[in-house]
């Protein structure tokens, strides 16, 4: 099938990385804690890739990505707990379902708000994020097991290396194929000049919605994998700060670069979690003091993203 044939180099590299990681995991070269961080990094990469499609490629600034991540996480947590799923194979349809749920919510919310631009879209997505947060905080009023502001406990641990790896590779290929097709071209046109895009015959409303829905789907899958990795969820995991996490990754990785996003996710998670291991708790509080400074410096130094090419004038 052409789908795989065109990506064989990528597949070989991925499989090699998988074998190395698997060996590390199997022979306990790295501690279970670090193993978990590795899986987490892959999940973050998958989710950030979604935001990169929305923002990096299509130019739709979203400050609510964590909300879709959260919707996926809570959906998966609820389903796996209620259906008492504990195997990888029955978990896969749940993952897909969670992606579809987040995508559907993204689609419905996207119809009205994607008409907005730049900072107004930012505030609208931020508002949606807050709404989801309010909902999660009160979720125990709808279903006791969702836990509300106490958090969701006792989620089966299912997420493993094979699962996250398989999904990431699958998603990278799909995303790459989309980006290098007419749809990706339209997204980039919209980012450059929406008015010109409609004038050459691109249905911009549909295309923006498509990018947004797809990005939210990835967030949903990422959230589901996350829920069944840590077995505990709390509404505060899905607030504005988490949205900013994803945003920083997309910016560092260079807007509109798939591999950049993957590298940036790994570096970012490694950086944050690495600091947690290296630094004492008191100094650790400094993280969120230093990160904004770096972010501001980055914006002033290179307003188009770190790994993006310098714009030729």
């Amino acid at each position: 099938m052409r789908f795989f044939r065109e990506s064989w180099i990528f597949l070989i590299v991925s499989v090699s990385i998988y074998i190395i990681l698997k060996a590390f995991f199997a022979f306990n070269v790295i501690s279970p804690y670090i193993q978990q961080i590795c899986l987490y990094a892959v999940i973050v990469a998958l989710t950030s890739l979604g935001l990169n499609v929305i923002y990096g490629y299509t130019g739709q600034f979203s400050l609510g990505h964590a909300a879709f991540y959260g919707i996926g996480a809570y959906t998966s947590a609820y389903l796996t707990k209620v259906l008492s799923i504990d195997g990888v194979i029955p978990f896969i349809p749940v993952l897909v379902f969670c992606g579809l749920v987040s995508g559907l919510v993204g689609y419905l919310i996207g119809i009205p708000i994607l008409r907005l631009r730049d900072d107004f879209l930012a505030i609208a997505t931020l508002g949606f994020g807050t709404l989801v947060r309010v909902f999660l905080d009160n979720s125990d009023k709808f279903a006791e097991s969702l836990g509300g502001s106490r958090g969701f406990v006792g989620i089966p641990r299912i997420t493993n290396l094979e699962l996250v790896f398989f999904f990431l590779i699958f998603v990278i290929i799909i995303t790459r194929n989309l980006i290098h097709s007419r749809y990706g071209l339209f997204w980039r046109c919209i980012k450059d000049d929406e008015l010109a895009a409609t004038s050459v015959g691109i249905n911009t409303a549909n295309m923006k919605l498509m990018a947004f829905t797809y990005g939210c789907m990835l967030a949903g899958i990422g959230g589901a994998l996350y829920a069944n990795l840590y077995s505990f969820l709390h509404p505060s995991n899905f607030d504005i700060l988490r949205s900013i996490d994803f945003l920083i990754i997309v910016i560092i990785g260079g807007m509109g670069s798939i591999m950049g996003t993957i590298y940036a996710s790994i570096i970012w998670v490694g950086f944050i979690e690495g600091l947690r291991i290296v630094l004492p708790a008191q100094v650790l509080d400094m993280r969120w003091v230093v990160i904004p400074i770096l972010l501001i410096a980055l914006m002033i130094w290179r307003p188009y993203g770190l790994m993006s090419k310098r714009r030729k004038v």
């Binding site: 009205p112 730049d118 508002g127 949606f128 909902f135 400094m286 972010l295 501001i296 914006m299 307003p303």
Partner: protein
């Protein structure tokens, strides 16, 4: 209890909250006017005002009118520095870069001040400079705190009105927010006016911070986030860039919030505010007082 009295009572409480939102919203709307930027750090200036006032009252026992003056000054300096350090270098950068920078400034202020060596992330009790007294006006009661808030807000608005509509600086601000290039051709120093706008907006947020803390005497480094966002929504509701729009928007948001808490549940109040936001953005994006602007 008599329903009408209860509704009126909640209305007064809503106005109290709304007055504070109005003070913050003015800063958003003025900065948006001159820079087309949602200054995410503005809510944190409000928080800073509360903390400066806390130190002045709790540690130094300074009289209340001096507290207002010093706090406004401190917030003005903070606003000025934020603009000069973080926003000015990005004057020609893409809009979103500026927005991300604003988010960065906001996070920095919150987490820097939450360090244990500075303010700590915990809630601190705010020492009220006077005891709360209620005056029974037959149908409802009004407290001296509310009276103070109404008076201070009214004076601030009046002074701001004079500044904007009766002085050279105010005229220049309006000119800059309408058309920077032509304003420059009139000999108006654009950078100076932008700094001035930040200074005025930050001072008002500082006043808002003190009043809010007197009314709800618990302060915390993250206290600026939600009032900040809600005040921005107030500014959008009234029509961003429009001074009286921010005031009316602030009052409406304040009343809505209090009514939702009183008649529904306090956990839903944030949700309702955002539903208002969606409503405005979808049906009248230019706000109550805004004019319709066409694309192209």
């Amino acid at each position: 209890m008599d329903i009408l009295g209860y509704v009126l009572q909640q209305g007064i409480n809503g106005l109290q909250l709304g007055a504070v939102y109005a003070l913050i919203a003015l800063g958003y709307t003025m900065v948006y006017g001159v820079l087309r930027l949602i200054n995410f750090a503005h809510g944190d200036i409000f928080m800073l005002g509360a903390f400066v006032a806390y130190f002045l009252i709790a540690k130094f026992g300074i009289p209340i009118y001096l507290v207002f003056i010093i706090t406004m000054l401190a917030c003005a300096i903070a606003g000025y520095l934020i603009e000069k350090i973080a926003y000015k270098p990005l004057r020609d950068a893409p809009k979103i870069s500026l927005l991300i920078t604003a988010v960065g400034v906001s996070l920095f202020l919150e987490y820097f001040l939450s360090l244990n060596a500075i303010f700590t992330p915990n809630y601190i009790a705010f020492p009220r400079p006077f005891d709360v007294k209620g005056y029974d006006l037959a149908v409802f009661t009004i407290t001296n705190v509310q009276v103070l808030i109404f008076i201070i807000t009214f004076i601030s608005l009046f002074l701001l009105y004079l500044l904007i509509y009766r002085t050279n600086y105010g005229r220049a601000m309006r000119a800059v927010s309408h058309d920077k290039e032509t304003a420059a051709l009139m000999g108006i120093g654009i950078d100076g006016i932008i700094s001035f706008t930040f200074i005025v907006g930050a001072s008002l947020a500082g006043v808002g911070g003190i009043l809010y803390s007197i009314a709800y005497p618990q302060i915390n480094v993250f206290m600026g986030i939600m009032p900040g966002i809600k005040s921005f929504i107030a500014a959008v509701l009234g029509g961003i860039g429009i001074i009286h729009g921010a005031v009316i928007g602030g009052l409406i948001i304040g009343i809505c919030e209090v009514f939702v808490s009183a008649f529904l549940s306090s956990t839903f109040r944030d949700g309702v505010i955002f539903i208002i936001l969606f409503g405005v953005l979808l049906f009248k994006p230019s706000g109550i007082f805004g004019k319709r602007i066409e694309k192209v």
